[in-house]
């Protein structure tokens, strides 16, 4: 059943292992670290969106909670980074449950707006609570992570560490999907009424998966803090939530591999576009990074109009690399 997924994880692990040797430049490794962080968040978001069918435009808030917990607890209270990350997870978990209880009763558009509202509130607070968060000036001097006495101070080390976490998250997600709990979630997506008539506690299950995805986002945020060593509210606005949803949707919401595909492609897109702009500059065509947003939107819209099952599904169909299973090819009506 999930053999194919395990093979996928293995292949990804191999690619990760050789990547630092293939990429000569620390800068590009850094880009791949950000890619890993987005993958982590998107895997959780995909469990929520693609499997349980609950949209969230609020995940930037959980990334922010993780990032700020790590940044503030280490710089202001001198905590160990791991403890701060743990605290971030706990805070995200509690927030997710508290927010999830009223929010996840809502459906569709209402749920989308409520989660968007939540993310906006968190962002406003990050900007406004200057005395605690530093406001727009942000927090600097965040310490690096250390693993068994080994400082994660080179891009290569951080790269391996973050991608290892992605692989672990994928392993968890794959197991979950193919378990009783995962089936319950997919049942909620299919029909909440039918699921609850079969004994699935839809309220609790939705909150649990929301909380789990919040934890993934929180860890991603903490890692961001300990990698960039500086944070401000800028990267955690609602646009980041929208970008995360874009990644999952572009890759394909109904498969965890779609989420990974989307996260990788869209995280690398700005680099691709800057290559493009260097190319275009030779023909005297000015490409500004300002256009990136437009291109994101255009990609998302084309995918939604022409490939609603996402790119991963499209790639798979085109290359027949992974042989089709009925389970995943005809998802989603």
């Amino acid at each position: 059943m999930n053999m194919k997924d395990y093979i996928g994880i293995g292949v990804l692990a191999l690619i990760v292992a050789v990547m630092p040797f293939a990429v000569g430049n620390d800068y590009y490794l850094g880009v791949l670290v950000f890619t890993a962080l987005n993958c982590l968040t998107c895997i959780g978001l995909c469990l929520l969106l693609g499997y349980a069918g609950q949209i969230s435009l609020g995940h930037s808030a959980f990334v922010a909670i993780g990032a700020y917990a790590s940044a503030l607890l280490t710089t202001k209270l001198g905590w160990n980074p791991w403890a701060a990350m743990g605290a971030g997870i706990v805070i995200s978990l509690v927030t997710a449950v508290l927010v999830g209880i009223p929010t996840l009763k809502l459906k569709g558009h209402y749920l989308a707006m409520a989660t968007l509202g939540f993310a906006s509130i968190v962002h406003v607070v990050l900007v406004a609570a200057v005395d605690i968060t530093g406001g727009p000036s942000g927090v600097s001097g965040i310490p690096r992570l250390e693993l068994f006495g080994l400082a994660l101070d080179t891009d290569t080390r951080i790269f391996y560490f973050c991608w290892a976490l992605v692989l672990v998250a994928l392993y968890f997600a794959v197991n979950l999907i193919h378990s009783r709990v995962g089936r319950g979630l997919q049942a909620i997506h299919g029909s909440e009424d039918a699921a609850s008539s079969l004994g699935v506690n839809i309220t609790v299950d939705k909150i649990r998966i929301f909380a789990l995805s919040a934890v993934f986002a929180s860890v991603s945020g903490s890692l961001y803090s300990h990698y960039v060593l500086y944070i401000d509210p800028g990267p955690f606005d609602v646009m980041h939530s929208v970008l995360l949803i874009t990644m999952v949707a572009v890759g394909g919401i109904h498969s965890i591999w779609g989420a990974v595909t989307g996260a990788v492609l869209l995280s690398l897109l700005p680099e691709g576009l800057s290559f493009l702009s260097e190319g275009l500059a030779q023909f005297n065509i000015q490409y500004k990074t300002d256009y990136d947003t437009l291109i994101y939107g255009a990609i998302l819209l084309s995918i939604m109009l022409f490939l609603p099952e996402g790119l991963f599904d499209g790639i798979r169909r085109s290359f027949s690399f992974f042989s089709k299973t009925n389970t995943e090819t005809e998802r989603g009506q």
Partner: protein, 302 residues
């Protein structure tokens, strides 16, 4: 010599004026949400972008091309209306049997595109625009009142009057209402419901553009303002009962005044959070809004 720092009547009045001013804008955005919602059941996440487009286009026409304000007003409204129609034709209409999730993401995609295009065209700067009839404040019971505020309130009143006339006294308006109540029945009685959907996007975009035009002299427009305007407008729409435009107008102004009051009494930094907090509270406690009936809510499917 030093006065005690207490809140005087004129200060309170000043906050109310500020609140009504932004409340009118929320009300207009909420009306835009309602129009599309009534015709399609869709919440248009690109609603705030219409406002931004209206404001920025108006700035270009009046400030850069130096066109007279009435001409720019008409041209901007028309152009944004056309954008609304284009949105419906190219992104909503072609999708057959969409899921709610797909529709949400499609309108989000449109909002990203509009935002990206606005950034490409106008850059990231905030744009100042001259007031319609001077920026010399008027005295109003000890508080000061900008002529532009009168323009804003006046425009809202005119639009509401036009709205009531359109939906109660014109055939097209009545057809739109029929579609909103029961689309299948409307179609069976010969109403072209596809056309009604297109019309709803056109009107919604037009109202959004007008909101953007009249507020820009006061708030200065930039490309990124759409999301927050949109979500606050949605807050007004929900507060007034989704689909209920008269409710939305009262709710919008109420939201604006509450927001301004919180800026005065609590902190202007948390002002934006207040409106959002009210939105969440309403969604959690009474999703049918303060004027909507909960039974009617249950009948609508999401």
């Amino acid at each position: 010599m030093m006065e005690p720092s207490s809140v005087s009547f004129s200060d309170i009045l000043q906050y109310i004026i500020m609140g009504v001013q932004s409340g009118c804008i929320y009300a207009l955005v909420a009306m835009g949400f309602n129009m599309i919602y009534n015709a399609t059941g869709i919440i248009n996440f690109a609603q705030g972008e219409f406002v931004v487009l209206g404001g920025l286009l108006m700035v270009s026409l009046t400030m850069t091309l130096n066109l007279p304000i009435p001409l720019s007003f008409a041209a901007t409204t028309l152009a944004v209306t056309a954008a609304g129609v284009a949105m419906e034709r190219f992104t909503i209409n072609p999708v057959k049997n969409p899921t709610v999730l797909r529709l949400i993401i499609i309108t989000i995609a449109v909002s990203i595109i509009v935002k990206g295009a606005a950034m490409g065209i106008w850059g990231k700067n905030s744009y100042f625009m001259r007031h319609f009839s001077g920026s010399e404040p008027l005295d109003f019971l000890g508080a000061s009142l900008l002529p532009q505020t009168l323009w804003i309130v006046g425009t809202l009143v005119l639009i509401v009057a036009a709205y009531i006339y359109f939906f109660n006294h014109t055939m097209t308006g009545k057809c739109m209402r029929a579609c909103a109540i029961n689309r299948d029945a409307a179609r069976l009685s010969g109403i072209n419901d596809r056309r009604m959907v297109m019309l709803s996007f056109a009107l919604s975009a037009g109202i959004g553009a007008i909101a953007g035009i009249i507020i820009t002299p006061i708030i200065q427009m930039d490309y990124a303002r759409g999301a927050l305007l949109g979500i606050k407008g949605f807050g007004a729409a929900v507060l007034g009962g989704l689909g209920n435009s008269m409710g939305a107008i009262i709710a919008g102004i109420l939201l604006g005044v509450l927001e301004a009051a919180s800026a005065g009494l609590i902190s202007s930094h948390y002002m934006d959070a207040i409106a959002l907090f009210i939105l969440l509270l309403v969604l959690f406690v009474r999703p049918s809004g303060i004027f909507g009936s909960s039974a009617a809510m249950r009948l609508k499917e999401f």
